[in-house]
Symmetry: C2
Subunit: 366 residues, 2 copies
């Protein structure tokens, strides 16, 4: 990568990060959508989506499932935990397409913006919205796979935000939808929580306004970011009952140092911030001048809203409030002490619940 | 104040902070206990407790109520919100003694350690425990007022930690006890939450290892500290329902900038850290080799445990778990959307509940 200079100011350039590689993430394809205009006015000169698929698209092209990714997540967790012949997301029956969200480090992201995207590397990366991800996904599915209608859209957390965006933006293209542990309109509390995460990173002097040379220079900030996740990502009971012992750690400190901190310190700060900005502003009511009821009223899919009972920042009641505004939707609550990060599927009782709720949904006419 | 040098290393000295003055806190007395040895091994050469009293001690000296203070709190909130002829804490009937906790900025604290205490200023301040506060309070009440038994000990949050410490350490001296929104043994989640608060401050380059020259040099860290309080101190519903409008703010941002941020940026970082260290380690089971049931079993007071239903970090169930181990104790849950910071008494429905529960307790034989 070559530094481009404009006048006397060095432009930031993409940096290497070994976490965002096939070594860590296995097989996935980079599929180019070319120039992509963003809702906030920016442009990605060559948007590349990292896509992992499982199973085979049938001739009728009606067995496709779209899986969307969460903050810090990639297709890897779905491949390893959610998808398989023993799961509702069964590649022997469905063609499952996991699309890594823009900015997640595998798709086009601040840290990897090079070549045609060199001008938007690092601190120059434009703001991206949930709606941009969903438009890109729709274009990908239509142009690349010829898929016009999805048997199911499913995702957790920010993946739920994308699922709701599909329900409202492309109602005729979604037969079934399963937003897990996430809302259609981000809450003020969630905004503040995400802001605390953002500031843990940006306050690190090593962040250098986004133009650090390696994520390791922001390690202290990323560790504080992990520390705030520890407070909100798990439930109070997770810590009290020392559920981390089931993960074979001997102390809370060892769990932090061996699990949550390395999980985040491997990642790119600008990529996390790109996703955080999106998360904070997820809101389907942007389509209806702020009228959430009108927006959710556009849903035509059969929907299962799936909150987690111990979630500290996407609490059940926030899902219930939106459920009342969403036609064709029912709710199933996952019982899991881990709280929001139950999404990792660590508890042996988690996936059986998810599989049951998704299977019910897939078996229902739509 | 004069800088003392030892060899070539400048010793930190006390600093001025206009917040911790009579101008902001009204009348209180500084009462010296002289040299005070701390449980962790340190010594305060001249421990001065800032004490505000209301009402008159009767001849039998059996109408005394001790009020303990919370993290960041002083006697001011009790004077202005909790104490008065229309409240259960009625100075026309009781002699009410509010003792500011060690390190809160009014009693001997890192930022004000001068004179005999000059050697423990700022980063040199020793670790203090909840037990130190309670021993100091007991000594103060006995030596200064001749009080051997309390009609009631009451406090919220860290004040509840002190209340439990009284119940276990001095069971014969406590006739009634009312821990509000706090536990006898701090939880792991609370430890992590407090740690996030601590790191928001210590990560600020202006903190300079605790030897800043003014709290204003740590403003950025104190604002992030306020931002984390915003996430955990209030409930998700507080933000969703925009309860801050009742405080006459026009936006969430205005509420942060006009209320929560200035509340904390006025304070001293080392003082907050002194209290945070205590908070993280509050544990009455230190008296019984770690056996919480045995410790709480020592309680002889009639106790009302008073959690707040929307509290995010001292949740109701943590109170219920300890209630089962505490003889003579019953529970009353406060209904308040503000969550933990309901303690500020902002909601018009808060004090009526507190008054009812405390009045029931004060009216009960003990």
């Amino acid at each position: 990568m070559t530094a481009v200079t404009t006048g006397t100011t060095a432009q930031p350039t993409a940096i290497e990060n070994p976490y965002y590689t096939h070594e860590f993430h296995g097989d996935y394809d980079l599929i180019s959508l070319g120039e992509f205009a963003l809702e906030e006015g920016g442009v990605i000169p060559d948007l590349q989506l990292a896509v992992a698929t499982f199973g085979t698209l049938n001739a009728a092209k009606d067995n496709a499932i779209l899986v969307t990714t969460w903050y810090s997540g990639t297709h890897q967790i779905f491949r390893d935990v959610y998808i398989g012949p023993d799961h509702a997301l069964n590649p022997e029956r469905y063609f499952i397409v996991v699309v890594n969200q823009i900015g997640n480090g595998l798709s086009t992201s601040p840290h990897n913006a090079s070549g045609a995207n060199a001008g938007i590397a690092m601190s120059n990366f434009p703001h991206v919205r949930i709606g941009d991800d969903v438009r890109a996904q729709e274009q990908l599915l239509r142009e690349h796979y010829g898929i016009d209608r999805l048997a199911l859209v499913v995702g957790g957390s920010m993946g739920a935000q994308q699922t709701y965006e599909w329900m409202v933006r492309f109602p005729q293209k979604v037969r079934r939808a399963a937003p897990i542990a996430g809302t259609a309109q981000n809450t003020p509390h969630d905004f503040l929580y995400t802001q605390a995460l953002v500031e843990a990173i940006t306050s690190d002097p090593g962040f250098a306004g986004g133009n650090y040379r390696s994520n390791t220079e922001v390690e202290a900030g990323l560790k504080r970011h992990a520390g705030i996740w520890a407070v909100m990502g798990f439930s109070t009971e997770f810590w009290k009952q020392e559920v981390w012992r089931a993960l074979e750690f001997e102390s809370r400190e060892a769990f932090m140092a061996g699990f949550l901190e390395p999980y985040f310190t491997a990642m790119d700060p600008n990529d996390l911030l790109c996703m955080a900005w999106k998360w904070q502003r997820g809101d389907v009511a942007r389509h209806t001048g702020g009228d959430l009821a009108e927006a959710l009223g556009r849903n035509e899919s059969v929907a299962r809203v799936i909150p987690i009972n111990e979630d500290m920042f996407f609490p059940v009641r926030d899902h219930e409030a939106e459920l009342e505004l969403t036609p064709h939707a029912t709710i199933r609550v996952v019982d899991d002490l881990l709280g929001h990060l139950a999404l990792f599927g660590v508890a042996p009782t988690y996936m059986p619940q998810i599989d049951q709720y998704l299977q019910e949904l897939l078996d229902s006419p739509a």
